[in-house]
């Protein structure tokens, strides 16, 4: 496997007034095509900043992001983002929210009818076709996030970026959405980079877990390979030795070696 997405020596420094804060220090990571990589760390460790840099929404101070060996430094549909708070446009229906993305990305290459079918297909993928004419305000939080995922998938991104996509959801809804994402990943083979602070979520979904040290000057502390066969079943894993070991490793990293220091 060759490197598909490469984060190359990324540094990020914010300066405000006379003080400069180093958020990220020398973050280097290579992600292969079809791989599911999670970035986990305590809040404030700069993991969202890192995702924004990959998305192109924030500029790195030094270093860069390479996608298929080409540098990317501005946002684009090849790196679609599923935002933590869904970020659907409330004045558009569920269908129109996805259609906006489809029209923008495929306006030159597909006919109207094809774009319509593609929009519906993506809504079906996340099981939201039944609510296509509703507005985001009329559906539940989990449904909104499903539409957010459909919108991102509809752009046929090279890399799907998930920014704590299930953080704002209750535990049951979160589990359902995690299952959905696993099935989509299994079927479409997307390359996914996910930010999370949930250890179980990271172990369940990922091929590799990237553990960040605490900021300031956060860097990659450890990378853990999760050698679990797919498809993974939530219930089977509860007693799976590999799963428990991976879980323990992440927990130890987060709570023994890199305890969250409130004062930092």
């Amino acid at each position: 496997m060759t490197s598909y997405l490469k984060l190359d020596h990324i540094d990020k420094t914010y300066s405000r007034g006379g003080t400069t804060t180093n958020v990220l220090k020398d973050v280097t990571l290579e992600i292969h095509k079809g791989e599911y990589v999670s970035i986990i760390g305590h809040s404030g460790c700069g993991k969202s900043t890192l995702l924004n840099i990959v998305a192109g929404l924030t500029d790195a101070t030094s270093g860069g992001v390479l996608l298929e060996d080409r540098e990317v430094n501005s946002p684009g549909p090849d790196r679609a983002v599923v935002f933590q708070n869904h970020s659907l446009l409330p004045w558009l229906t569920v269908y129109d929210n996805v259609r906006l993305a489809v029209d923008k990305v495929f306006s030159g290459t597909r006919t109207r009818a094809q774009r319509h079918d593609w929009t519906l297909h993506n809504l079906e993928l996340v099981q939201m076709a039944h609510a296509k004419d509703k507005r985001p305000g009329e559906v539940s939080g989990g449904m909104k996030q499903r539409v957010g995922i459909a919108r991102a998938l509809s752009m046929e991104p090279k890399v799907l970026l998930l920014d704590e996509p299930f953080g704002a959801l209750d535990a049951l809804t979160r589990a359902h959405l995690q299952d959905s994402v696993m099935q989509i990943h299994a079927t479409l083979g997307n390359t996914i980079l996910m930010i999370t602070h949930d250890v179980d979520e990271a172990v369940l979904l990922s091929d590799r877990i990237v553990m960040m040290t605490n900021g300031p000057s956060a860097r990659i502390g450890e990378v853990l390979d999760v050698h679990l066969a797919r498809p993974r079943k939530r219930l089977d894993l509860v007693t799976n030795a590999t799963y428990l070991k991976a879980r323990e490793a992440v927990l130890k990293f987060l709570h023994e070696r890199h305890r969250f220091v409130e004062a930092a």
Binding site: A55, G56, L57, S74, P75, G76, P77, R79, A80, V81, F83, N85, S87, L89, P90, W91, L92, L100, A101, K104, V105, Q114, W118, H121, E124, L125, V126, Q127, M128, H130, R135, P136, G137, E138, S140, G142, M143, R146, M155, L172, T173, H176, L177, D179, S180, Q183, I184, T187, L188
Partner: protein
């Protein structure tokens, strides 16, 4: 296109037809249609509840007016005296005897036309300037102090300057409407643009919307509730200013009609005209509010 369809299971999924759950069908007795009186009565009572209170208040007030102004020495005419003196004006708003001797409809129409032109210009320029100072910090710093001072200038204070510049009553009045209506539109639009959540900007960035698409698809709908607040204040101010401006510039128009009636001591005509002015102002406000409700539906339910 190439991706196979998936069937996922999720809590948010719709229940599949023909699922495992079984239910017995219980025949319900078909509901009998209620007698007509039972269905009409609630409608009538709800109409009565809404219409009766204003009707009663209006009757009491007009009665009070009648009592207070019925003495022969009263400076203002009573309602019956107005009916008597201004009967032609009330029953036929469409007469036209040439010159300024026209029915109220024609005067109102002339005023509304001036407002329409001045206000439309104010909407276009106001939304554009508001967007500019909402988007650009530099433009805001440069223009905001100027706007804050200019917006406190009373509408009529612009009229002499406007007359001097345009050398004609018609464009001068339109300019006064424009300059009166534009400030609330600029300021509210700017606030609306400034309050667009970063999330929407991120979505636009990921989709690579160009500036025009961003303006049409994100900015206008996101700022619409604010913009329409400005538009409603603007139309109200326009209507306030047109009456005063027309009193000074003359010609056909409800403002000059009132001034003319005063000069001819036709107090009854003035009162009839005031009622028209109030109703038209109310209708203008409702039109903009209705447009706003249509355009911003969904936005409020974010």
């Amino acid at each position: 296109m190439t991706t196979p369809a998936l069937k996922l299971t999720g809590r948010d999924a719709p229940p599949r037809a023909g699922g495992a759950a079984t239910a017995t069908v219980v025949a319900m007795p078909s509901p009998k249609r209620k007698p007509a009186a039972d269905r009409i009565l609630p409608v009538l009572s709800s109409i009565a509840a809404n219409v009766l209170p204003p009707l009663i208040v209006l009757t009491v007030l007009v009665g009070l007016w009648q009592i207070l102004c019925s003495s022969p020495t009263s400076p203002l005419p009573s309602p019956t005296a107005i009916l008597d003196s201004s009967w032609e004006l009330i029953v036929d708003p469409f007469y036209d005897r040439g010159g300024l001797d026209k029915g109220l409809f024609w005067h109102i129409l002339a005023s509304v036309q001036r407002v329409a032109v001045g206000y439309s210009l104010a909407v276009v320029v106001g939304v554009a300037l508001g967007t500019l100072i909402g988007q650009s910090t530099w433009a805001m710093r440069g223009l905001d102090p100027l706007f804050q001072v200019l917006r406190t200038v009373p509408p009529l204070a612009w009229l002499p300057l406007s007359l001097a510049a345009f050398r004609d009553g018609q464009p001068a009045a339109i300019f006064v409407i424009f300059i009166t209506a534009i400030w609330p539109i600029i300021i509210n639009t700017a606030v609306g643009i400034r309050n667009i959540p970063q999330d929407y900007r991120n979505v636009a960035a990921v989709l690579r919307l160009n500036p025009i698409e961003f303006f049409v698809k994100i900015m206008v709908p996101a700022a619409a509730p604010y913009i329409f607040t400005g538009l409603r204040i603007g139309i109200g101010l326009s209507w306030l200013a047109i009456i005063a401006a027309e009193m000074l510039i003359g010609g056909v128009g409800i403002g000059f009609f009132i001034w003319d009636a005063w000069n001819s001591s036709l107090i009854g005509d003035i009162i009839v005209a005031l009622i028209y002015v109030g109703i038209v102002g109310f209708v203008l406000d409702r039109i903009i509010a209705g447009l706003g409700a249509i355009v911003t539906r969904g936005t409020a339910a974010a």
